[in-house]
Structure formats: structure tokens, C-alpha cells
């Protein structure tokens, strides 16, 4: 791993991830970053909470997949957010399950995500709590201060708010491009670029 500028605020990896030095990543060996992902200072990822029960013992020929948190490309984890794998009892034993984030997922400041899967192009506002094993599909906007209850499924193109969360609107056809995080990615890091007009 090359750390190009010796003391930048961010560690920039070969695949273009920008990880703040002040981010708290626990169990980094179990955190997979797809590339071009920004992790802001004080964000926290619990990679140490790995799955203890492997899915099917029959296919254990390969090395067990210990990924606890998988993050796609162009994700943006704001200051103070927390990603942690959801856990539950399964056949009388407790196990954590992996948390998967798709591409272009924005996690707002102070939000806690314990979902099972978050799709592509998802915007999670500030101070949102996403309960364990929630499933969030693509193109979903979760407004600030929303509490998504455990096990909730949020279909694509939903705008969600409230405690507990409910669908309050639909993402309009012209609103798809607003989820794109490529430009935001460029504005952060050791050599931030100005935001385009």
C-alpha cells in the first residue's frame, strides 16, 4: 500500500479509496472496499463482527468467506456514521451476518446502519438508524432522523421518513442522477477538487 502524501488527512489506496486517518475501522481484514469509496473522519466500521456460522458446511472446500462488511464503489461514509453487521439467533445460536452496501451509497453523518443489504444509489440522511436485517433496494432516499425498523424491506424508488420509517413518496424519473456520487468523491481527500458547477 502506497501512502502517497506522507501526512495527508486521508489514506488513499491503489483502488482509489480515501480513508480518513481519524476513521475507526475495526477488523479491517474483514472489510471489503470496492474502490473509490470515501470514509470520512470519525466514521466507524465494525469488521470484527464476522459471521460465526458459515452458511453451508458442504461448500466449505474454499476458504471461509469472512467478509463482515462489503462496500461497493463510490460510497461515501460521512463523519460519525457507523456500519455494523446485523446479528441474530439462528437455530439457537447467535451469529452476525454480513452487511453489504452497493455502489453510490451515501451514509449521512451520525447514521447507524445495521442492514442486511443496501442497494445501489441509496442516499441515507443524517442521524438515521437502520435496523438489523433491513433490506434497502436501489434508488432509495432516506430522509434525516428516520428510524428504519429491523427486517423492513424498502423497495426501489422510495422516499422514506418517520419513526418508524414509512414510504412517503416516490423518487421522480428525473431524480435518478442526483444519487450519483462520482463528483462528490472528487471533492474529498488529500487533493480535493472543487465541486463542478
Amino acid at each position: 500500500m502506497s501512502r502517497r502524501p506522507p501526512r495527508g488527512e486521508y489514506i488513499e489506496t491503489d483502488t482509489g479509496n480515501k480513508v480518513a486517518r481519524k476513521a475507526t475501522l475495526v477488523g479491517t481484514q474483514n472489510i471489503m472496499l470496492g474502490g473509490k469509496t470515501v470514509i470520512m473522519p470519525e466514521a466507524m466500521i465494525r469488521g470484527d463482527l464476522v459471521r460465526t456460522l458459515q452458511p453451508s458446511p458442504s461448500s466449505s472446500g474454499a476458504a471461509p468467506n469472512n467478509t463482515a462488511v462489503a462496500i461497493g464503489r463510490y460510497c461515501f461514509l460521512s463523519r460519525g456514521c457507523c456500519l455494523r453487521p446485523p446479528g441474530r439467533l439462528y437455530k439457537g445460536l447467535f451469529t452476525y451476518m454480513p452487511l453489504r452496501l452497493g455502489d453510490h451509497v451515501f451514509v449521512g453523518p451520525g447514521s447507524v446502519v445495521q442492514a442486511a443489504t443496501v442497494g445501489n444509489y441509496v442516499h441515507i440522511g443524517a442521524k438515521v438508524a437502520i435496523g438489523e436485517f433491513a433490506i434497502i433496494k436501489d434508488y432509495v432516499r432516506i430522509l434525516d432522523d428516520t428510524v428504519v425498523p429491523p427486517n423492513m424491506v424498502i423497495p426501489s424508488f422510495s422516499i422514506v421518513a418517520g419513526q418508524p420509517a414509512r414510504v412517503i413518496g416516490e423518487v421522480p424519473e428525473g431524480g435518478h442522477e442526483a444519487f450519483e456520487l462520482r463528483e462528490l468523491y472528487k471533492t474529498v481527500g488529500n487533493n480535493p477538487q472543487p465541486a463542478p458547477v
Binding site: P155, S158, P164, V197
Partner: protein, 643 residues
């Protein structure tokens, strides 16, 4: 999302459910916005392909109330008019018809449902099922009747932690045997609270349909229908006189239960039909003399108890085959229903039980209006009458998820499809998606702060203090466009603010290819390095490096496919000069909104009718002039009340 609360509640978009707990949030800091008016709101321009004539710049009407007048294009658009709430949309919500060359909004497009699906299990529901099964998920997807959170199916005997329960329809996740219950993962409501549990973890909907609250069985609509048929068959021939005892035994078990609405109706209908049949075959029914005279005394003139009016009423309320038309002339009376088998329901006026329950459970035991509204009417099928009683939390039933749809949209004028999603539930692709953002320029607003400006917070507008805003127009099409802007010199309303567009006419370069952007961008960046950097400062707050001052007729900044101009406003004082007192502000009267007329002109190849098509290389074709014009509203901020 919209900033102004009014527009969040717009009926066609915000799917109706901003409830008390979701809405009770503090007002967020103001973000400037641009709303665009759909031409559909103005009947004079709706059918017209050419845009309305541009109003004169700096043209002000003291009387704004008559701008509903369709003939007069000279009136500036008033964003405060009540009707404006229904025609203004953020750019993302607008579509564009390529054939009419006009903006289309969610209110004017014609929608067609492509797919129905359950928002929880994401299974598609064939439209044929909708007629028979209704518009709700008939699998195992339910919402909590208390808090609207999702319900999970879980085994009652040994479920470990309700917060980490298996999702429904996952048999492997529920290894324990029944009975099963529904549990809310948010508010911890459990179906045991209303006395309901299930034998199987799947097809909860079907199981629930057969259970009353408390666990007693209830008839489904289908069973009721079948029973009615059986009843009609068994009685049809043998039913002669109205001796009710003939079939009391048939219903013996039913009598124990409260007579529910559906059963009552079917009993009543059956009774009247048999009465009619009797009247038709054997003259006046044998029982008519008993009760008919009494009823006839009260309603004699209306003849409610005569077979004629009865058959008419039956024909109105049921689709049953019409009775003998010859009976019309027949005059006579019949007796009324005498017991519950004939559809008689004696009103229960004894509410002591409900009062006792209210005493015992108090306010928490009753349901709120929103909880009651969330209950589905179908769920009350077979339930005792709810009319005139308090509703208790113990009467709530799980709410099956309302199905959601994928919809295609047509232009209301030419009927061309302008948006069409893929039919499959899990794909997010669109076959057709003609969004206005690909045709008309986007307008972004940020406050302009100059190095010498001492305003600490540029977003706060102070009365009589000039404030400047940078409007950035970004051209999405592959042709250069010419933009002409017009605003009234004073904003409409009781507190007119002065508005000056420093550069009302300018050209924007074409939206060139992405790779051109990459190649050219570097040069441009280097050339205009300083101003670009300052432009990037959050909301322009940090823009302290501008060397130039805003000047009339000059463009503020220019980029590959965008142009920034400056608008100066002098916010109105919220006090009347004659009064010392602050007048009582109406809702949003402190909001500074500028109506702006935008006219876009460009040239396109005559062949390629589509606006968005890349300009052809064939230079021989004559260029076709196009123009589009519309009103928009710039929301700049709120005027502070001091000063």
C-alpha cells in the same frame, strides 16, 4: 425534496403519509430552490406549441389578483397565488414530451400501471388477481396496526429475540414448531394482544381471514357466499310460509356470534326475496297482516312494505335477477324481518361494557385516528358493527401491505409515452425516460459573497439591504442555447422586493461529449483557476478571491456548458411605512420568491426532430429554430423581520 411544506404535501407526489411523527421536525436551514411551472396549469398555453409571448421586463402590476385571466399574457406569474401550488415543480419531477416540445408534470401526464407488486416481499401480483384478491398483499406481509412498522412471523414457543427475527416466507429461519404470531419489530406489538395466532408460518393472510380477534373462527367472503348459495338451494323450493323455525337449526352456531354486517345483509336479502316470491305466487304473504299494518301506518304513503317498492330497492342494492315485473301493479303489504335469521338486528344500546373497558384501560386502550384510518375496510368483514362505539386497541388487526405499482406515463396531448419502466419488479431500468432535465437548463442558486461584503450570514435576507445571488444555468442539450430572462421589477404580494437581473440575455455553449469535457476541462480549469476554486466554496461563502465585481450586462462566470449570472434583490421591509407595528404575516409571506420567465432558443437539425439528438455532421440540412419558454420561481430565502 421540496423546502416549502406546502409542496411536500402535494397530493400527486407525496404519497399522502406525512404523519404527525414524521412531520414534527424542526425547520431545516433554508436552501435556495428553483421550481418550474408546468404549462398545463394555464389553459391558454396548454394546447399551444409556441410559447406564450414574453412579458416585458420590469413590468409590474399593482393588482396581482386577476392573473387567473387567461387572455392576458402580460401578467407576471404570481407564485403566491393559490393555484401556483399545483403547477410548480422541481426540475426532477418534470418530464418532457419530444413531440409537443413541452414540459409535462406529474399532474398532467396520463399514468398507466405496468406492474403491481408488494413492497415488502417484492412479489409481482398479476392484475387478474387484483379483482378477486384486492389491492393488498395476500402472502404474509403485514404492517403493525399500532405503529405501521413491518410485522414478522415468529414462533410463539421459543422465539428468542424479537428484534432479530427471521423474515417472513423463510421457512428455514423459523425452525421451531407453531403456533406462530406476528410481532412488530419497532413497537413490540404482538398479534397475541388481540388474541390471534397461527398454525402455519406461511400464507398468514389466508389464515387471518378466517380468524376473529380473540381467535374465534370467522367466515371468509367466499365461504359466506357458498353458504348463502346452499341456503338458497335448500330453502328455494321448500320455503313456503315465513316460519323462521324451519331453518333456525341450520344457523344454530351462528346465533351465538354477533350478527356481522355481511351475514345480516345476506339474511335480509334472502328474507325479502322469499317474501317477494311468496307475494308473487300466493298473493299477499300470509304474514302480511301481522306486521305489515303496523309498518304501513308509518310509511303507508311510501309503501316501503309493498312488494313493488321492495323489489325496486332490491334491484338498486343488489345485482340479483330482477323480480317479476308484473308485480308492479300489485298492492299489498308484507311483514318485516322478525329475527336474526331474517336479517333483524336489534341495536345494542347497552354500552356499559365499553364504558367499563374505557375505565379499565383508559386512553392507551383506545385507538388513534391514524390507527383507525390505517385499518383496511375489508378487514372488518365479518366483524361486529363498529358504528357508534369506541374503538379499542384490542380491535385492531394487522394491516396487509398495500400493493405498489410501476407506472408508465403518457403525454396528455399527443398520447406518446414519455416514461416507461421495465415491467419486472426488481429491475430499476426504464425503457423510456424523457426527463425535463435532459432538455431544459437547470438553475442553481447560491448567495454571492464578495470579499468586501461584511454580511456574516449571506443566506439571511435583511430588509432594504441589497443582496446578490449567483444563478447558474447549465445546458443539458448538445446545441448552444440562447437564454432570455425576465422578471417583474417588484415581486408580487404585500411586500414587494426589488429585483434586478444584471444580465438578462446570454448564450450557453453546447453540452459537448464527455471526452471533450475531460480534454477541455483541464485547460479551462487552469485558465480560470482562481474563480473556479472560489466557486467551489460551500455555497460560495468562502469565495473571497473574486477579482471582479458584478456589473450590469456582464456574465459572472462561464464554463463548458454553463453560465452564471448575478441577480440583485432589495428585500422588502415587512413593516408598512405608515405603521410602526408589524403586520401579521401570513404563511410564507416572509419568503422571498422571484417569478422569472425563461425563454430558451436554439437551432436544431430539421431532420433530427429530437432535441436531445447529437447534432448531425450533415451540414447541408437547414437548421430549424426552436424555442421553449416557461415561468419558474426562484426561492432565495426568508426576509428577517428585524430592521
Amino acid at each position: 425534496m421540496w423546502t416549502r411544506g406546502v409542496r411536500i404535501n402535494h397530493p400527486s407526489i407525496a404519497a399522502s403519509v406525512l404523519e404527525e411523527n414524521a412531520a414534527a421536525v424542526m425547520a431545516p436551514p433554508f436552501t435556495p430552490y428553483t421550481f418550474i411551472q408546468c404549462p398545463c396549469s394555464d389553459s391558454s398555453t396548454f394546447n399551444r406549441r409556441s410559447p406564450p409571448s414574453t412579458p416585458t421586463t420590469h413590468h409590474h402590476h399593482s393588482d396581482n389578483d386577476d392573473n387567473d385571466d387567461d387572455d392576458d399574457d402580460e401578467h407576471p406569474f404570481d407564485p403566491r397565488a393559490p393555484r401556483s401550488n399545483y403547477s410548480l415543480y422541481p426540475l426532477e419531477y418534470l418530464l418532457y414530451c419530444e413531440d409537443c416540445h413541452q414540459i409535462r408534470c406529474p399532474r398532467c401526464v396520463a399514468e398507466e400501471i405496468v406492474t403491481y407488486y408488494c413492497p415488502s416481499c417484492l412479489f409481482e401480483v398479476p392484475s387478474s388477481n387484483l379483482k378477486s384478491e384486492g389491492n393488498r398483499c395476500t402472502r404474509s406481509c403485514f404492517q403493525c396496526p399500532v405503529c405501521i412498522g413491518p410485522l414478522s412471523v415468529t414462533s410463539l414457543e421459543s422465539h428468542p429475540d424479537p428484534n432479530t427475527l427471521p423474515v417472513p416466507d423463510n421457512p428455514s429461519a423459523a425452525p421451531h414448531g407453531g403456533p406462530y404470531i406476528l410481532i412488530c419489530s419497532h413497537c413490540a406489538w404482538s398479534s397475541t394482544e388481540v388474541g390471534i395466532q397461527f398454525d402455519k408460518p406461511n400464507s398468514i393472510h389466508a389464515q387471518l381471514a378466517k380468524l376473529r380477534n380473540g381467535g374465534n373462527p370467522r367466515m371468509t367472503a367466499k365461504e359466506r357466499k357458498e353458504r348463502r348459495k346452499d341456503l338458497a338451494q335448500s330453502l328455494g323450493s321448500s320455503y313456503s310460509s315465513s316460519s323462521a323455525s324451519g331453518y333456525t337449526g341450520y344457523f344454530a352456531d351462528e346465533l351465538d356470534l354477533d350478527l356481522d354486517l355481511e351475514t345480516q345483509f345476506s339474511n335480509l336479502k334472502l328474507f325479502y326475496q322469499s317474501q317477494l316470491a311468496n307475494a308473487n305466487t300466493g298473493g299477499v304473504g300470509s304474514g302480511s297482516s301481522a306486521s305489515g299494518s303496523g309498518a304501513g301506518g308509518a310509511f303507508g304513503d311510501l309503501g316501503f312494505t309493498s312488494p313493488t317498492s321492495l323489489s325496486r330497492i332490491l334491484n338498486i342494492y343488489t345485482s340479483a335477477s330482477s323480480q317479476d315485473k308484473k308485480a308492479k301493479s300489485r298492492i299489498g303489504t308484507m311483514r318485516e324481518a322478525l329475527d336474526s335469521d331474517e336479517g333483524l338486528k336489534i341495536a345494542n344500546l347497552d354500552e356499559s361494557e365499553a364504558i367499563a373497558k374505557l375505565h379499565a384501560e383508559g386512553h392507551p386502550g383506545t385507538v388513534s385516528t391514524s390507527q383507525l384510518l390505517n385499518q383496511t375496510p375489508q378487514l372488518h368483514l365479518g366483524e361486529p358493527h363498529l358504528h357508534g362505539r369506541s374503538r379499542f386497541a384490542s380491535e385492531l388487526r394487522p394491516i396487509p401491505y398495500l400493493l405498489r405499482t410501476k407506472r408508465s406515463k403518457r403525454c396528455p396531448i399527443c398520447r406518446h409515452i414519455i416514461s416507461k419502466p421495465e415491467a419486472k419488479v426488481l429491475t430499476t431500468r426504464f425503457r423510456i425516460r424523457l426527463v425535463a432535465g435532459s432538455y431544459i437548463p437547470s438553475i442553481t442558486i447560491r448567495p454571492l459573497s464578495l470579499p468586501n461584503a461584511s454580511t456574516p450570514d449571506p443566506s439571511a435576507l435583511r430588509p432594504s439591504k441589497p443582496a446578490q445571488f449567483v444563478l447558474t444555468f447549465k445546458n443539458p442539450i448538445f446545441e448552444p442555447v440562447k437564454i432570455t430572462l425576465a422578471t417583474p421589477a417588484l415581486t408580487p404580494g404585500r411586500f414587494p422586493s426589488k429585483v434586478t437581473v444584471l444580465c438578462p440575455q446570454f448564450d450557453i455553449d453546447a453540452n459537448t461529449d464527455v471526452w471533450d469535457e475531460v480534454l477541455k476541462d483541464g485547460d479551462k480549469r487552469r485558465k480560470k483557476g482562481e474563480s473556479m476554486d472560489s466557486a467551489s466554496g460551500a455555497g460560495g461563502v468562502g469565495g473571497g478571491q473574486h477579482q471582479h465585481q458584478p456589473a450590469a450586462g456582464k456574465i459572472w462566470e462561464r464554463g463548458r456548458n454553463w453560465v452564471s449570472i448575478v441577480v440583485e434583490v432589495v428585500p422588502a421591509s415587512l413593516r408598512k411605512p405608515s405603521q410602526d407595528e408589524m403586520p401579521v404575516l401570513k404563511e410564507d409571506e416572509d419568503l422571498l420568491e422571484i417569478p422569472m420567465f425563461v425563454r430558451i432558443e436554439w437551432e436544431t437539425d430539421a431532420m433530427g426532430d429530437e432535441v436531445g439528438a447529437v447534432s448531425g455532421k450533415d451540414r447541408d440540412l437547414p437548421k430549424l429554430k426552436r424555442e421553449l419558454a416557461y415561468w419558474c420561481v426562484l426561492g432565495l430565502g426568508r426576509v428577517s423581520d428585524q430592521g
